[in-house]
Symmetry: D2
Subunit: 313 residues, 4 copies
């Protein structure tokens, strides 16, 4: 059993053949074009490189940002570079190159990542799980009673937009005080930048001045070495995420909480304090500790998750 996973990113389109164990057997990628016809051409040429293997695949899965109807594959909203796909059915884009009647599914990248965990990773034995992808923003997806929630408008699972402070910072989504304004890589980097701008001394100044963008790992490393600004930023972010997870666990009662995204490279430095926060906040209602685990699918390309949409709804 194999599936083709297609990840549509802002800078590149990646296509891979994924086997039943979640391994990428073969992969090809190209730059994300800037128009629908060019996109079709690029996709056609990427698919052609699979040399007829596509006749044997059990289905095709697309993952991308935005809101896509998972069955019809209609792209409803897709902010950013590939916005020209809005209004298209992704299945139409591959109909020439694939066998008639093949299953084609699509969903946003956080749900695709959860599908990957469900098929091959940390959610394999779960009926209820929360997934948060902690990257530049905070993505989320929810498995409840064995199904990945999509909601009435395809928006369900936007866990990064849980309100943490009614009068908090303005979020990209128009709400104020969203979890994403406290925890995401962008939020932490912005807070370090703000501290520096206000004149606070920090070992991170050098990294920022070398004009390379600061990344989250830098902050966790500086904190581990005793930088006060980094410690304050890290601890506040973890405190808010722990508090948010507690509320989500009360709302969804999952078997486990799965964390993915670049921030997770910090490993135990982030998971251990989160575990402690979650434990004391939820022990009474839950009666037991809810494990927090890193994502089990190592693939950062999004291909495996997209392919997994074929295997698991």
């Amino acid at each position: 059993m194999t599936a083709l996973g297609i990840d549509i990113g802002g800078s590149s389109v990646k296509v891979g053949l994924v086997d039943r164990s979640g391994n990428i057997v073969e992969r090809h990628s190209g730059t994300t074009p800037d128009s629908l016809p060019a996109f079709k051409a690029t996709l056609g040429s990427l698919l052609a490189q699979f040399d007829g293997q596509l006749t044997a695949v059990d289905g095709i899965g697309f993952g991308c940002r935005g809101i896509i109807h998972h069955e019809s594959t209609l792209v409803e909203r897709l902010p950013g570079a590939a916005h020209f796909l809005e209004g298209s059915r992704l299945s139409d884009l591959v109909s020439d190159a694939t066998p008639a009647g093949i299953v084609v599914r699509a969903d946003n990248d956080a749900r695709a990542a959860l599908a990957g965990e469900l098929a091959f990773g940390a959610a394999r034995d779960c009926s209820n799980a929360l997934m948060l992808t902690l990257g530049t923003g905070v993505g989320g997806a929810v498995l409840a009673e064995g199904r990945i929630l999509r909601g009435a408008r395809g928006v369900a699972g936007h866990l990064g937009h849980l309100t943490m402070e009614p009068d908090g910072p303005l979020c990209v989504c128009g709400n104020r005080g969203c979890l994403e304004t406290y925890f995401s890589a962008r939020a932490m980097e912005a807070e370090v930048g703000a501290g520096l701008h206000r004149g606070v001394a920090t070992s991170l100044e050098g990294i920022l001045k070398r004009s390379s963008p600061l990344c989250c790992e830098d902050i966790f490393n500086a904190a581990a070495e005793g930088d006060t600004l980094a410690i304050v930023v890290r601890d506040r972010a973890v405190h808010f995420l722990g508090a948010a997870l507690a509320g989500l666990v009360h709302a969804f009662d999952p078997e486990r909480v799965i964390l993915g995204g670049q921030i997770i490279r910090a490993g135990a430095a982030i998971i251990e304090p989160l575990r402690q926060e979650l434990r004391w906040r939820t022990m009474c209602l839950l009666g037991e500790e809810v494990p927090i685990v890193p994502a089990g699918v190592a693939d950062q390309s999004g291909i495996v998750g997209a392919a997994a949409l074929v295997f698991r709804p």
Copy 2:
């Protein structure tokens, strides 16, 4: 099609025969006993008063506080007066008085209320809905993809225990800053009491001094008449609930938000400001306004909701 609804409360046990339209055809109630044998006896005698009509019912539904397995009807946790039911299967308590093989279901009262809305009320046409019961505490239940969520341990839907402030007031559940510590009747009454204790002048002093407990309606009335303390307490509570609803709507993407419980008697005075908060906070991600509606099932006894567990899973 009829069902028997049984509500087990801290002070009384209520049993009613509910028809297919959600009307209570006949009802009987008794004081909640203080032991398991006495409870069985009371329940037996209440059922006997239905004079054999029970042979025609399509099933029996139980609603009570705590955590009850909805299919096995095993009571896992039941804090308060009827705690002796922990470890019992509620279906066993009615097996003598009912036909063999009859369907018996049970769930906590918030989910029973949502089942009632689903069968007869404001959620009738929904696949995704949030229900919050705003009473002494804040109860919650979630309909997602057509199913009432129960979660891995039967805890799903505890929306009153969403964390709103990581370092907020200590909640009865052991967490800090839960929605329930900001919005519930108890929380608002406590805040008025605290203001008075600190010496703030308020027209609510008279009500408190008459030693009758303050109720939420008093606060809304005093606020409407310009009492500053009441206004501050009301506005803060509504502000927090609006912010919480925004996060929940982002997480669950429901067709509507249903509010029940005593606080709802305040009507538009509470729903209108909530609607405004929810609108600006979620318009961007949702693309449309999510309606906030009062519960449609008028029954305060819990009987109709309990019966509805038979009709809808």
Copy 3:
């Protein structure tokens, strides 16, 4: 050198002869009357009991709540039982019983307490000091460049009404989020009461149910014995007071911070965590630790402080 100290309280009027070492040589007291003529009569009779010793005193000092002009002794505002004194000069009330031309001074009780510390207690060698009286409310007085600040309207030193949270609880003064709403005995008691009302379990329930009013010491004792609600209430209050003191120390740069009032009976349990908060918050700007010390004048009657107004302006 001796002075007469007169404390006008809500329930009693206390008069004492204070020697140069701050000892009360002789004292008499009576119930606070409810009219100006009765007040004059009571005061006259109390003074008469000093048997002519008054001819030898160096002056008379009055302390009471509210706003009193310290030189003219005109009572501008005096909320509560003795409000009928508003508009009177306190010096007129003693003119019959005392030598012509004797010095008469008056001030609010927090400033009188600071005068006492300045003459006999913890501020004896200071030119700059902050005094906070932590009782049912939070009173304050400031010594700056050797003078007790009175301000343009006699209001200076209301340190309990420093704003700690712009949208915090409504204060008796009409502001929101005043220090007094976080730290005072009333505030802490109210917060425990609110927790109880929301259903939080606490060992303080017994004390409250015995209908004896809860006092601050009870909370500190319960916290020391591990009661979670008491710990949360205590730690939050101390955290806010420490943060407030840091700001005040940056504004006034005092040689020391003097704490008086009932809360101080908790001793090191309160002073030690405050000291730590103040230290890390101010070390950089101040360059050294500002000591926090308990009031040195043991007199709880207010007599010594009132008398001290004669010795030190």
Copy 4:
């Protein structure tokens, strides 16, 4: 009556002759040197340009950052470019060029600015006044009972380091949640930058991308034109400053609050909402409105304030 004002800045040293009306009669300036000998040489050459007029001056005043003893003129701390002055007496630096025995005074720039207001500007008729200079940071100075407060260590008046949130952002001073982290130009600019970094759309993006530093006026202008991010940043900053001023007014009871610095160029757009906040927060305790007025001394160079140290202590 004339005085010489000398402002020692990070980039330039400015010297001016100020007459009794606060006008600068003549001025000369040079680049701030990087060593003590060079500094002496520069100052000597600047003074020489006044052609003997210095024999007629009534005194010399120095203003600079940091902590300077106002009578001995000893520089205790001076962070930044001119740090080599630490340990020097500023009076020694001008002794060769000025008549023996001439009065030389020195103080930090916020106190110098208040001295200027006292001699020539908005504090001329005051005994009690607060001054806040709202620039890249928040400076402060206090007039109490006719004297500019200096405190036990020369630190008094650091009003920008009032704690507004115990767990707020890390401040350059080591404290957390200082007023300066909410209101200053740097703080507001940093918050806009953080919003942009998190992806929030704003009309200020163009200004930031042109790599010219954002300034406070830009934010107020964008807010006036309806930019949501600018509105949120402005309103929050004003809300915090209003709340802080309320607390300071309760602590110092000034006749007026004087605002200086670049932010004040926003005029009524900033003063009017502050006035409203201050009014409702303090009306009850103060009994009247405390006026908020812009600084009356137009001089941005710091020369007039420095000279005023001679006229008023």
